[in-house]
Subunit: 214 residues, 2 copies
């Protein structure tokens, strides 16, 4: 948790509706650098400020009493997270690969609730799509949806970079890391992807992958 001196503006900020309003209205703090696996906020922490990802990737996690973990979301550059209904965080946020985060502290009584609402609704829409994934799709379909979604967010429809490790993917897709390996193997055998390296996947048949997830 140290201050990153060289601030690098992320590329897609202006493409996110509502975000520029928010940045104008909420005095943006400096960018804080969170190294791999550093905790950004913990479960039970007081909620309030929002967090803008400048670079890197963040995971939002929740644990059951007996230690099973679910990652409810990954956030990449340009996305805002940290919304809570009551004043306390029900999940915790960690840096996946070293992430730069800008904290947006609400001014007393003069937040632009309109643009916050826009972002919160987007978060809701993402979460609902993820519900469908976990509730009604099998392992292959979940992985296909994950790859297609990441590719879209990275703006490259022929290859995907996976900054997180297999265990994270498993906890995001509601399965085990062994199954993640097996499913990637299965998609490879189907000729849909190619594993350029452990964390770089080439999408050989984007149309077929998209067809697998609606």
């Amino acid at each position: 948790m140290q201050i990153q001196p060289s601030f690098r503006a992320h590329p897609s900020r202006d493409t996110h509706a509502g975000l520029s309003d928010l940045l104008l209205a909420m005095q943006p703090a400096a960018v804080t650098y969170f190294p791999t696996d550093a905790v950004i906020y913990a479960e039970g922490d007081a909620a309030g400020p929002l967090y803008l990802v400048e670079f890197g990737m963040v995971r939002i996690c929740r644990l059951t009493a007996d230690g099973r973990r679910l990652i409810s979301a990954f956030h990449t550059a340009g996305e805002v997270f940290g919304f809570e209904a009551d004043g306390v965080h029900g999940s915790f946020a960690e840096s996946v690969d070293g992430a730069g985060i800008r904290v947006l502290r609400p001014h007393c009584g003069e937040q632009p609730t309109g643009s916050i609402l826009t972002l919160a609704l987007r978060s809701l829409a993402r979460t609902q799509a993820h519900l469908m994934l976990l509730g009604r799709r099998n392992a292959n379909e979940r992985m296909a949806a994950f790859l297609v979604d990441l590719a879209a967010r990275q703006g490259d429809d022929s290859s995907v970079y996976l900054p997180m490790q297999r265990y994270d993917i498993a906890d995001y897709l509601g399965m085990t890391f062994e199954t993640v390996s097996r499913v990637l193997r299965a998609l490879k055998d189907l000729g849909l992807i190619r594993l350029r390296s452990t964390n770089e996947v080439e999408l050989l048949d984007l149309a077929a992958l998209e067809a697998m997830c609606d």
Copy 2:
């Protein structure tokens, strides 16, 4: 889809923070009665107005291309639904058992976005809790969580009324209706519940049920 002449105010309205502000600011329309299985809005419909449940129960559904259904939420009296990130509904809403709905139409440019935000964040919190359910809990745990949640919302911690049928419960919990039957049977055999009738469950050991779901 007919107008219910006798309007019955629901009991818990004032316990929902943000709701009274919303009702003050958004001119509430008359209550419309939706009989069992009637569609309140369809997937693809223009979004915008919000919907307040006055009585009865509503299900929010989504379908995969090949017809698998997931119910992302049930809504009871006092709850508001219909939030969408963009202008189009990604899910559809249906009456479960005959529901009275009050449509809240936004006035141009003068909605109380603050109270809408509060309600949207509550919806997000619910959805995230449901994610955990579908991603990391087995059939018994899902059912226990469902019963405990319904009991709390119905304000009775010794029995639960199930207005929906097994198929709906299955699609809410991400399983089949046969498994719903079997799981209820299993909880009964464990001495945790008693099936007073098809749609009335007595909670014999609330503490144990709560322990099953964190």
